[in-house]
Assembly symmetry: C2
Homo-oligomer: 263 residues x 2
DNA sequence: CGCTAACTTGACCCGTTTCAACTTTCGTGG
DNA sequence: CCACGAAAGTTGAAACGGGTCAAGTTAGCG
C-alpha cells in the first residue's frame, strides 16, 4: 500500500460514496470533539464553527508548527492524521501522540519543547491556526469552551500515561489492540467511525514507532489479529469484529478518554 | 537489603553525619524545588516555608490520598520517596511517576483518575496537605509561586513523555541509566545529592515496574552498570562515576526538567 | 536471633529483532 | 495510458535480549 491520495484528487468526482461518508465528517470536527467532552450551547458550538472556516492543507510528512509565529495560538486539525514524535540518538523515533480531526494543541507549550520534538502530518491534512486572540475570545464568551479545552488537555496527559502502561509491559498483540481501541473511540467521537469500522491511514512503520516494536513484528502481529478474527484490515479500512471481546483482550477501558457517551 | 529505617530511628542519636547531610535538606524542599524552576522573592520563599510546617508521617507502602477530603488542595512531599502507579490486569504494575522531596501534586486531578491509580510511599514519608485556600492565597500573593507550580506541572508531563521514549525503545542498560540521571538532577535541585551521589531507596522490584523489565533483569543490569564502572551502588547509596559519560550513554539531556541551573 | 523482604544466581525458554530478499501498491512522468 | 520507481507491506531464517522459574543468599527489623 502507498500513501493516501492528496485532497485535490480525493475531492474530485468519482469517489466511492461510502468512503466519503467515512472520511468526511458531517459536522465540524472541532465542535464535535469538544461536544464529546463537555455540553456545549448552540451558540458556543456555532462560535467554534465560525472560527474554524479558514484552514490550509499540507501533504503527508509535512512538518507542522515549525515557525515562531502564532505565539499563544492554537493549532486545530480539521482533516487527516498527524502525530507528535521525538527522535532519539540511533535513528529511532518514538511517537508520543496522535492527532485526529478535532484534536488541537497549544502552540506555546509546543514551542518550549526541544527541537527534536516534531509535529508531522501522517496523511494529507487540513489545519486551522487560531491566533491567541481568537482563543481568548472564544473562552471568555463561552466558559464551556474553556472547560472543554481544559478537559481535552487532561485527556492528552492521561493518554500518554495510558501508552506508558501499554508499552511498559504488554505483549505485542495487546499493545496494538489497545491502540486500535483508543483510535476507534476517538474517531467515533467526531463521527469518523461507524459500525466499529474506520479509516486507519497509519503505516506499519508508524505503528511500530508508536508501540515500541519493529515494523516486521507489527506486520506479523496484524496478521495474527486477522487470523484470530479479531479485526479485518483491507486497504486502509480497519474493522473491529467484536468490540467487547476485543476491548477485553486489549485490557482497554475507555474511562481515560472522558467521553460523555461511550456507547 | 531491607527497607529503610523509619524516621524515629534515623532521627535518633548515633547517625553517621554524612548520611544525615545527604538525607536531611538544609532548606525546605518545597521552596527549593520551586526556586529551582523559577526565581522566587524572599517573601515568596518564606511564605512557602510557613505553609509547609505542619506535616504528617506515613510508613513505607502507605497509600497516600485515599480520601475524598481536601478537594482542590495540594499534597506536598517533604521527605522520602513516593510513586504514582497503575495496576494492570495480570497483576502487573506500572509506575508512572516518582515524587521526591519538594514535589507536589494537585488533589483534584488526582481524584478524577481511575481507582486503579494509586499514590504510594516507597519509603517512610512526611507530607504536607495544603488546603485549597492555602494554595489560592499563596498563588495570589505571589505570582511567581503560581508560575512555579505551572512549570512544575509541565515538567511532570514532559517527564512522562520522556519515560515513554525511554521505555519505548531503549535497551535495559540505557533505560535504567536514564532514570538514574533524572533522579540525580531532581534530587540535586533540592539539595539531596552531592558529588553525583545520592540516596536511592527504590527497590529493584520498583525499578522493574518503572522501566518495564523483570526484577531479575534489573538486578543483572545493575551488576552490569557496576562492572562497567559507571556507577557504584552500596547499600542505598548510588554514585554516578562519570556524569558526562554516563549521561551520554543514557541518551540523557536534562532540558525537559527545566532546571534554571543544571551545573 | 529468627523472620521476612530484598537481593542474587543459574538454566532454560520464548518473544522480538535483525537482515535480507521479495511482492504489492500507487503516484508520477514519459 | 502505461511503465517505472519508490514507499509500503510480506516472508523466512537466525540470533539475542529479556522473561520465567526456582532455589539460593543477604540483611535489616522485631
Amino acid at each position: 500500500m502507498r500513501q493516501p491520495a492528496g485532497f485535490v484528487k480525493s475531492g474530485a468526482a468519482g469517489d466511492n460514496a461510502q468512503a466519503r461518508a467515512m472520511t468526511r465528517p458531517k459536522a465540524n470536527p472541532f465542535r464535535r470533539k469538544l461536544e464529546s467532552l463537555v455540553p456545549l450551547s448552540a451558540a458556543a458550538g456555532d462560535h467554534l464553527e465560525e472560527i474554524t472556516t479558514i484552514y490550509d492543507s499540507h501533504p503527508t510528512r509535512a512538518n507542522l508548527v515549525p515557525r515562531e509565529d502564532m505565539r499563544g495560538g492554537r493549532l486545530v486539525l480539521m482533516e487527516g492524521f498527524a502525530c507528535h514524535y521525538r527522535t532519539v540518538a540511533g535513528g529511532r523515533r518514538q511517537i508520543i501522540a496522535y492527532l485526529v480531526p478535532g484534536d488541537s494543541y497549544d502552540l506555546d507549550t509546543a514551542l518550549q519543547n526541544r527541537p527534536d520534538h516534531v509535529m508531522m502530518a501522517l496523511t494529507p491534512v487540513r489545519i486551522v491556526r487560531l491566533a491567541r486572540a481568537a482563543v481568548a475570545d472564544a473562552t471568555q464568551d463561552h466558559p464551556a469552551i474553556a472547560e472543554g479545552l481544559r478537559v481535552a488537555g487532561q485527556v492528552e496527559e492521561a493518554t500518554v500515561r495510558e501508552w506508558l502502561v501499554d508499552i511498559g509491559g504488554r505483549p505485542a498483540l495487546e499493545r496494538i489492540a489497545h491502540l486500535f481501541c483508543e483510535l476507534e473511540l476517538r474517531l467515533r467521537a467526531v463521527g469518523l467511525a461507524e459500525a466499529d469500522r474506520f479509516d486507519m491511514p497509519i503505516t506499519q512503520c508508524d505503528l511500530a514507532d508508536t508501540v515500541g516494536l519493529s515494523s516486521v513484528h507489527v506486520n506479523r502481529t496484524l496478521q495474527e489479529l486477522r487470523r484470530q478474527r479479531l479485526i479485518t484490515l483491507s486497504g486502509r479500512t480497519l474493522t473491529i469484529l467484536n468490540r467487547s471481546t476485543f476491548q477485553a483482550m486489549a485490557g482497554f477501558r475507555p474511562d481515560y478518554l472522558r467521553l460523555r457517551e461511550t456507547i
